[in-house]
Symmetry: D3
Subunit: 284 residues, 6 copies
């Protein structure tokens, strides 16, 4: 007997072998300093994805035309970031090795580190990292830990040239983070669409990995996140940012820091699912 | 003894005979496919209406100057759409027959069908339908049912010429719905104010019925709805759309798909009440 | 690639062919008169089941020793009870025909009707129905509808001798329901364990179907339900009732009317999952 | 046109002249020290009352046989206890003067003071006050105010002999309150049914006013209240307490401190409505 | 032993003697007519302030460079506005007398009255009042009370020339309030930044007190408030309004009507904390 | 200037030197496998403690007579259990070294390990551990980690003779845990008061440390916890268990796994505070 309706992402299926894109949930949230709960992000996004149609009237394409495998969630070793990152790294290597397009769904932002490492393994210095976030995530350490949601982009800069990193929409950080970002990465505080349109020509043809923290969007549009920061962009703006990458060679994508707590209407989950739908239709 | 404070709409009263406008709650939500609960919409809107003043500083008019009868809610036959639509139809005929301005409060969008039918009965081909919604609602059937919240406008098109239907703000639907809409109705996806201003001259003098699904507004402004769709308009924009109809002959109005679940602050309820206040002051 | 963690019931698997027991979610809630939302009951119970261990220290047995297939959810035709009941009936026939033990998870109580019909088809007048509920569910019709959550046991009595029906814990109903129950079924208002122990000998050897509405438990222990009725039993009492059926021939089981709304801690979901664990270990 | 469904108490009507009992909501909560919100108690109880049947299987009587007028809510002067108590007092005098049975629904406990005063006006030293509560409410003042939710029974003792006051279930207070209660009122801490059964003979034939704070019930059964105090009675126990007064001459009743905040399932509202149903069927 | 982490505002300390700015919580909400709960506003803002960094990338300054004393909350006399306002007045006199910059955190808007009075005592007719709010707050009385959240600016006008009062963003009030405001204060309905930029030159050099009701911001951005009014400004706009006062002589500030109910994600609390951070860095 | 009202435990103060008892909050929850959030437990308990009176009518004693220092919360290294446990251990050594009675407030259960270790350091084999919990917490490892909330008592058994450990109320665990417990500790599944009364004589005169997981109480009474397990004791029973230790030499106490999520009424927080009040009055 085939299974009936169960909790997978809109229009996804269970057959890895014929998949062009692979979605992996990563229920890790144990280095967060303020409010945990993003471990429930992947399930929340899957559930709310069914509010949407699979057809995008923006792109006039349908998710049904992309073959998406929804893996479900990775098993984490709770309280042990190193082991957990190892599990993620192994999966990222596998999916990229099989030439499938990976979509990792957080969980906290630290989960992007092993995925970026796997992308660097494959693409070397050709790799460009686009980072959309309210927070700079450029600390060297946080409460004495170098593996933290607040250090993830600084950690990435240990595996790739900081000059290959572009940061958009940043509106929170320490003075040191803002200074380090300004000196080392392509650092665009507050703004997204303007700077993105300007640098598009520079990155076309490069292998691009996109990491997106949902809190780049204003808390009015995305309240379901651990550290909401007022003053972000609208839903339409983040979707337009995705669409702007239409002619680029995006080789992987993650969306992190979505959590159901604090969002009883599920609007953050629907927005995340819509971003993923548009990202899949744009990138794959 | 007169009754004390009880749950009716702001500045409404209980005397039908002297009313110019009549508000009817319709607690029907049993064809919805995702998240039911809009049956509690009418009570929610009444409760939250008291946050507002009866005076509109936009229009410099007061609701107290319009004589509004709040009927309360119709009794539905739960699980039986046909009987329930019959109940609504009968009420719509009565109110329109008595030349009162009807305001139906959903409940799911399917409740608009019998009201539009009653309006067609009265106004015939003179009737124009203005539809504000995130969703096209143009399916022929949904899960094998032709009576569904997802088919309501297509059903209306069975009672009136599709060319009399104008749809604004649509940003979700199947490929088939978008194609059917583009070919048959005046179909304006994504936008509201721009196209509305352009077609105003065409509809002036006609008998206009306005059906509004609250999810045309962005979920940031109206989280309390069954199928929130990111990317909608702001509160100010939807109120401006109402004001733009100032010189038109609007003969009826409904507001649907408001529900209290997921909106603990009640901001969707207040917004709905404010739209109704402005609509009454503009249309009546 | 095997799938990772996804939302199924504790210790269940995806292989029907080797299953002894089969769990089927039924997301139907559209005839309910007060508060819909039990369509989300099956997913809620699955999610919360992971709070539990698979080992029962009460019975010193482990769910891992029973081969449980979790089908996921049936697809309902929203707003159309007849079609939806047909879908359930077909599934119940299939599972019983394959000699698997069925566990149906509601959804509203009306879903038990087609399952009981399928059991009558197979077991005829040998079938005994044990009904645990706060409500008598013995109306002939409700708001003009005979297919309703409030009529389900009266409807069952149309397919089997009322004398084969035992009702426990009933503490709400109309005068007519209480009178009809007293005259026709084995009707035990308010109490559960006392009468159950007394009738055990009468039903041993018979084919027993157990239908349980979670609201038989007091709202303090099970707030997540549509029509909470104060004055019910405790968690321990309902689990003891299940254990008392240890030497009986139970041939099917359903648990209905669980819903996540109103239960932010998920305690109703965990309780439901625990009842199911104990029921599977006791009945299968 | 008659009004449709609107928010009144189960089986009540709008005609004072033929009423035997009168329900009055009192949305006052502005002297509370911890958590306000009981102003929404009356509306909450009305809404949740529809979960119940009007028939009581405990008493085999139906609320439909009692003629209940639901006044709605009194208009309070927010922030001004004295004026607000004056409004309540006037209403209590009117209803008692017309020989209707009054049921006042709080609101905070201070609302009982003017009703008790009106009862003293009518019944003098014959009046007995039965007080069910978690808190002694025997302070002389609270933060410098003598009119407070924490002083209400002490205030009552200024209008009637303390020896006419019986307090049940008290499990919180200052040392001074416990000492004053022990010396002046019939003070039964922790317990309800035992002491109540013992004093029944003493109060039979007297005119009895019953004031009940919902927090006498354990927070597990009644979480929706301002100052929940663990260790209270169950739902069944408080209902049994009401039933024990079956042969007494109860001349008025209030139920206070119910509030919807913190009770998303509404179980406190249903319990309150059930207590009121049983109280009306027992007392009137 | 020094105390560990406890609930104070971001980067504040406990030593009044070395403070340049002083934060005082005022848990008063007992004159509000709709929904109380702003008494929990100060604690909510303190808790959520830790989501933020102390560094402002807008101003390139750090809160650590300002010496902020967080007093905690004043003790209110619940239900007695007059005594409570006296307590606030005394504290405002003390802080202003010691030449510290006061930040009062509500609580309802009425708490601004005694602070403005203290500012008038010190600055006389040099004082200018900037009022940001959705509501005019210009009633003479509300339900018979002159001391009310709805009368506070009219009351202030009794202590200072109405011509010294500037009102921004007002979008709700009675006809009388709008007329009185238009005739007496500098009254700018609906708009904020435009009129503010125009009047800046007029108020430079004057002693300015800023009172801000969080509901001037749209409910999408600030749902956690008692009387949400659709149609307000965005988070960025209110922060820009604060920044525009950069070269002005602001001598005190309050932020009122924040409440945690209805805002499970805490986005109103973070926004309030961010406004306070920017205000302190701009004004002190 | 003295500070005003701020968030400390009922009747506590800020002077360590004169304290007989010390309360330390431990906001650690990063090894939990199901639902994090107990890091907010200490703040939640402090906030809700003000619902209570400081006087215990059970013991006729007042918390004001005990000198309680509320330290606030320890600073954790998020995602690093070892460092965090080190921080706790150091504090436990300090407080016990200074001969103050320690009350540690979780946070997850793993926080008890370093406190028990410090108690073993001081009391050696005289130390008896009383463990009240729904879960055995006797795993050797969990998902490959030996430092976990699910291993804490097994870990304690590495520092003290298992025969010195008494476990009460356990109703969840693996088969292996139940077998290990039965063979090694004094293991009393399901029951609390019966076995406790029987072993009291054995432990009198010994140095006793009490560790209590709030989930030993039924979820009806304590929904605010990470892994609610139906079938536990009532509020009154756990308080009676505390009172039964009246003549014992308890040298330390912790209460863990309280969290505010899922408990909007705060009843778990009040219960926890009441247990702490009774524990302090009984043990100190």
């Amino acid at each position: 007997m085939e299974k009936g309706i169960h909790n997978c992402f809109l229009e996804s299926h269970g057959d890895y072998s014929r998949a062009r894109a692979v979605m992996i949930g990563v229920p890790m949230d144990f280095t967060v300093s303020f409010r945990p709960g993003s471990r429930f992000g992947p399930g929340f996004i899957r559930e709310m994805s069914w509010v949407l149609e699979s057809y995008s009237p923006y792109l006039r394409q349908d998710l049904a035309d992309i073959s998406l495998f929804d893996y479900g969630d990775l098993e984490m070793t709770f309280g042990n970031p190193e082991k957990s990152l190892g599990t993620i790294y192994k999966m990222a290597k596998k999916v990229m090795g099989d030439d499938r397009f990976p979509v990792f769904i957080g969980g906290e932002h630290l989960i992007s580190l092993p995925v970026v490492r796997a992308a660097v393994d494959k693409h070397g210095n050709d790799l460009v990292l686009l980072h959309f976030d309210a927070h700079a995530d450029l600390r060297e350490e946080y409460n004495g830990e170098s593996l933290s949601h607040a250090t993830v982009i600084r950690q990435c800069a240990g595996y790739m040239p900081p000059g290959n990193i572009y940061q958009f929409g940043i509106r929170s950080g320490t003075r040191e983070e803002f200074e380090w970002g300004s000196s080392n990465t392509h650092f665009y505080p507050f703004e997204i669409l303007g700077p993105l349109s300007k640098i598009l020509d520079n990155i076309k043809g490069r292998s691009i990995y996109v990491t997106m923290d949902i809190d780049v969007v204003d808390p009015a549009y995305a309240p379901g996140t651990g550290t909401p920061e007022p003053g972000g962009c609208t839903s339409n703006e983040i979707i337009e940012a995705v669409h702007m990458l239409r002619d680029c060679n995006v080789i992987g994508f993650d969306l992190v820091e979505v959590m159901p707590y604090g969002d009883p209407a599920g609007i953050t989950g629907v927005l995340a699912a819509k971003i993923i739908r548009e990202a899949l239709l744009t990138f794959v």
